[in-house]
């Protein structure tokens, strides 16, 4: 457990991660939500500072308002609370592809220093992988088409690599200008939230740079958990600890 400072409740590093991720979602935005950590963060945001956040799940749930955290992207609770339930082809063709969604919220198995995401295979040979991962799902087109992409995952040197083994979902490629050259409409990953801190792409190079440390985390911890030579922002900040209200709502969501 990472302990908060005086007067603030004890909270886990995962709770800090969820809270930090939720804060990045503005009220009135639309968010394409992956299951797991992204869904936790998005639902927390909707229950705290962003009641007008529109949650879109790839199962076809537009504007879902679940009262408990869904275990899958297709829980009945999501369908029952949605403004509209549509087919899966319609989600991708009419809603995601034209760039209607503000934020795509993704997880990753591997993430590299330019925000490229791997959820396909670990190892250099696609046909003889060391580990076969689940695959792409909706992520490649979420990463391409949403106005921006937030990534949330636990930070360690196996996950945070210099170069992903396989680009499942394109981030910033090899740096600035790659997305434009490929004609990708969205801005790509603009935020990475981990259990240790927050990374953002450098405006000039698009390399992910440490922008914030979570309370109680030191820089060496983050460097040790990063598989590349991590750059640190000149204005490195500290993430505000979770508030009592944030923790209460997060725990209610998890318990429901």
């Amino acid at each position: 457990m990472a302990g908060g400072g005086g007067g603030v409740s004890e909270y886990s590093s995962d709770e800090m991660m969820s809270v930090a991720a939720s804060r990045a979602l503005g009220d009135g935005m639309s968010c394409f939500v992956g299951i797991g950590l992204p869904s936790t963060a998005a639902n927390l945001a909707r229950r705290t500072h962003a009641p007008g956040l529109t949650l879109v799940y790839e199962s076809g749930c537009l504007g879902a308002k679940p009262s408990r955290l869904p275990l899958s992207i297709g829980d009945g609770e999501l369908a029952d609370t949605s403004d509209a339930v549509i087919s899966v082809p319609e989600v991708f063709n009419y809603w995601l592809q034209p760039g209607r969604i503000d934020v795509g919220f993704l997880g990753a198995a591997q993430l590299d220093k330019f925000g490229n995401i791997n959820t396909t295979v670990i190892g250099s040979d696609y046909h003889d992988p060391k580990v076969r991962l689940p695959g792409a799902g909706g992520a490649p087109e979420i990463a391409a088409s949403c106005r921006e992409v937030f990534v949330v995952l636990r930070q360690n040197a196996r996950a945070f690599v210099e170069r992903v083994d396989f680009i499942t979902s394109f981030g910033h490629g090899t740096g600035k200008g790659d997305r434009e050259r490929l004609g990708l409409p969205g801005a790509g990953p603009t935020l990475v939230v981990t259990d240790l801190g927050i990374l953002r792409p450098d405006p000039d190079t698009r390399e992910l740079v440490l922008a914030e440390l979570h309370p109680g985390i030191d820089l060496d911890q983050v460097r040790a958990a990063t598989g590349w030579n991590l750059k640190v922002s000149a204005e490195l900040g500290e993430t505000p600890a979770p508030t009592e209200a944030e923790l209460r709502v997060l725990r209610e969501l998890k318990a429901a």
Binding site: I35, L71, G76, S87, G135, A136, G137, P140, E141
Partner: protein
């Protein structure tokens, strides 16, 4: 025109060795009982198609029914990996498994093309990813009006598609509601189709969000209450999350799985 038959007769008649078979259902209404009937009847060399191969496909793959998998996300939702799928890809156990891998957007559009009688679909997809280099069924296509380059994927037209629905009426019209996934497209894309249902009713009552598949596009219907468990059927039963978690332990180990398989075959 849909005829009502038993599940075993339907699988015996509609699913043949070597067929391309799609079982669809996006988290909801997964035709698990039908998948296990395919295992029971010992089908081999199937090309299995499914956007989200989950535990029923892990079972089919572990049982050696499949020679190829066409998919976009193969995991145990909310739990983790599909161990039989991984074992087949990484170690060819019990038989080698060829894979053809897409994104959800690509798979959904392949079914749409199949349902539409078109040989291919166009999307903005795969750009910049390593998938395009590994998958032959992803090609560039140029807009004849703007010159823009987009992505084409070929139609999916399974020999047989199997889905699960809540209801069918006496005339064979199928009704499903809740999350509808890609089931309509998968049925319309297929040469033959089997729908397992929770119940047969005299008349379908109109419902919000219901999808109706008219009898004349369904080959056979089998009444299989609980046929989507451990996934769920809105209005009938909830998802059995415990079964998904339990599958992790069963599937992790070849011996455990083999024991499980013997139970299904019995």
């Amino acid at each position: 025109m849909a005829k009502v038959v038993s599940l075993s007769d339907a699988v015996a008649e509609l699913v043949h060795d070597g067929d391309t078979v799609a079982l669809e259902g996006f988290t909801h209404l997964i035709p698990v009982a039908a998948g296990q009937e395919i295992i029971r009847q010992g089908r081999r060399d199937l090309t299995l198609v499914r956007m989200t191969p989950d535990i029923v496909y892990d079972q089919l793959i572990g049982a050696g029914c499949a020679r190829k998998l066409i998919f976009s996300w193969g995991g145990n939702p909310g739990v983790g990996s599909l161990h039989r799928f991984r074992d087949a890809v990484q170690h060819s156990w019990p038989v080698p498994l060829e894979i053809e891998e897409h994104s959800h957007a690509g798979m959904a559009n392949r079914y749409v093309a199949g349902a539409s009688g078109l040989p291919f679909a166009v999307l903005r997809g795969y750009t910049g990813t390593d998938l395009a280099a590994q998958t032959e069924t992803i090609k560039p296509i140029t807009c004849p009006f703007t010159g823009e380059v987009l992505t084409a994927v070929p139609a999916l037209n399974p020999d047989v598609t199997i889905v699960h629905a809540q209801r069918v009426d006496r005339a064979g019209n199928v009704q499903l509601w809740g999350i509808a996934g890609v089931q309509k497209e998968a049925v319309l894309a297929a040469k033959r189709s089997l729908v397992t249902v929770e119940e047969i009713v005299d008349e379908l009552e109109p419902r919000p969000g219901a999808v109706v598949l008219p009898a004349w596009v369904v080959t056979a219907v089998a009444e299989v209450p609980g046929g989507a468990s451990p996934s769920y059927a809105a209005g009938y039963y909830e998802r059995d999350n415990g079964a998904y978690q339990a599958w992790d332990a069963i599937s992790r180990d070849r011996a455990e799985f083999t024991k499980w398989l013997a139970g299904v075959a019995a």
